[in-house]
């Protein structure tokens, strides 16, 4: 037969809130004589319980913790038995806060993985296990009305980003997106974004080459460099503009910017540079005139201008 059984109103409370637990001692607990003392162990601290006799003859010992100030407390109902303290039952009480609203939600359309990748900041630690879900729906207008729902995107454990696969997206239509955070004490929602996936496309960097002098291509003037570039191949169908930056090496001087430039150029002469000087050159592109994000800068190309 079982001697003690703890019951809790709820295993999870707000941090700082009170909690009352009761330990019911069954009458036929043979080791128990009426005068046995029941003690509560709160974490490692011993506290007496308030004794009550129930109608059915069972004894009940209650304890009230005024403010539960640690996220996890072990509560044990113990019986003093000779010189030892016997643990009859144990319960775990968790304390925390309802989830704060996730913030800084932002999304990028990734054409390599063909998915919309959204990330957010979860907000302060609420001490409780919290599930984040990226929710979204397709919408005609500016996301006031929901046309078709999109399956929830559940991030891997502990991660604060999620990828919505291509088959759930309409790349050229508005969609409403937000993050929901949920734990035992409540639910919160981030502000809702309203975006068109293709308008948040971020391209991979273009490729920049030096143009080697050849019969058709005259060598560059002093203080000039001959370049050519090509956008990232999978984005060839997207109209883009690019910008070039250059910096004499070693790189104390700041970058100089040249743009806007066409996204595809077979031959470009960059002039106005110092003669016989090494330059680091980088290019980036963005969808244009339709909206999009700038790609990262291409890897640095280092070229040296001709002598005077």
């Amino acid at each position: 037969e079982e001697c003690g059984r703890i019951s809790l109103p709820t295993p999870i409370v707000h941090l700082g809130d009170p909690i009352t637990a009761s330990c019911t001692i069954s009458p036929n607990c043979s080791h128990l004589d009426p005068e046995s003392q029941i003690l509560w162990k709160l974490g490692t601290e011993l506290q007496p319980g308030k004794r009550q006799r129930l109608a059915d003859g069972r004894q009940e010992f209650t304890i009230t913790v005024a403010h539960l100030n640690s996220p996890r407390v072990l509560l044990s109902c113990c019986l003093r038995w000779g010189t030892s303290l016997q643990i009859l039952d144990q319960a775990e009480v968790q304390a925390g806060y309802p989830p704060a609203a996730p913030h800084n939600l932002s999304c990028l359309m990734n054409l390599t993985t063909n998915s919309l990748i959204c990330q957010w900041e979860p907000g302060p630690n609420n001490h409780l296990s919290t599930n984040f879900t990226l929710k979204s729906f397709k919408s005609r207008g500016n996301c006031q009305t929901q046309e078709d729902s999109i399956p929830d995107c559940v991030p891997n454990d502990g991660q604060n980003h999620c990828s919505i696969p291509r088959r759930h997206l309409q790349l050229y239509q508005n969609m409403g997106i937000w993050v929901q955070a949920e734990n035992a004490l409540g639910t919160s929602k981030s502000p809702q974004l309203c975006l068109v996936p293709m308008d948040v496309v971020k391209l991979e960097p273009p490729t920049l080459w030096a143009l080697d002098p050849s019969p058709e291509v005259a060598p560059p003037q002093p203080g000039c460099l001959l370049l050519r570039w090509e956008p990232w191949r999978p984005s060839l169908y997207i109209e883009q503009k690019c910008e070039l930056r250059h910096q004499p090496q070693p790189g104390e001087a700041s970058w100089a910017l040249v743009g806007p430039l066409l996204s595809q150029t077979l031959q470009y002469e960059l002039c106005g540079l110092l003669p016989s000087t090494a330059y680091a050159l980088q290019l980036r592109c963005t969808r244009w005139p339709l909206p999009g994000h700038w790609s990262d800068w291409s890897p640095s190309l280092t070229l040296t201008t001709a002598q005077q």
Partner: protein
């Protein structure tokens, strides 16, 4: 003003981008059918096409001789809707080609939605959305691959004509 001055610039820019994407998807599918199965020329499959009864959507209102905005948009949408059905009928073409086929279908359906919404905004959308007619049945993996060659080849010419029509609508 030109026949299409009522078409917003952003709509046209999106259309051109979507068309180039669908054409790129179509080319990818054609290249893979050619590389993997040596099915490189639609002309070699004309007889089979007749036998399978692969329909070709009308695009008369988009031809330069009879260019007409509402008619062209409706035929463009109708054609895209038909191609969605044809590509769906090709499902099971082969494990290697399935992803390319899926991307093509998704991009065509996105494009069709864009056209439909623009027609609604212009108040010229057909009262009843189109419903899919009977599709050819492809009874072997060869027929699905041959169907893939024929359908993508027709789709490329369809898009070429539509691109030229929209280009002329874009001119002020």
């Amino acid at each position: 003003p030109g026949p299409g001055s009522s078409l917003p610039q952003s709509f046209l820019l999106k259309c051109f981008e979507q068309m180039r994407k669908v054409q790129a998807d179509g080319t990818a599918l054609q290249e893979r059918l050619c590389a993997t199965y040596k099915l490189c020329h639609p002309e070699e499959l004309v007889l089979l096409g007749h036998a399978l009864g692969i329909p070709q959507p009308p695009l008369s209102s988009c031809s330069s001789q009879a260019l007409q905005l509402t008619g062209c948009l409706r035929q463009l949408h109708g054609g895209l809707f038909l191609y969605q059905g044809l590509l769906q009928a090709l499902a099971g073409i082969s494990p290697e080609l399935a992803p390319t086929l899926d991307t093509l279908q998704l991009d065509i359906s996105d494009f069709a939605v864009n056209i439909w919404q623009q027609m609604e905004e212009l108040g010229v959308a057909p009262a009843v959305p189109p419903t899919q007619g009977t599709m050819p049945t492809f009874t072997s993996s060869f027929q699905r691959r041959a169907g893939g060659v024929l359908v993508t080849s027709d789709l490329q010419s369809f898009l070429e004509l539509a691109y030229r029509a929209l280009r002329s609508f874009a001119k002020p």
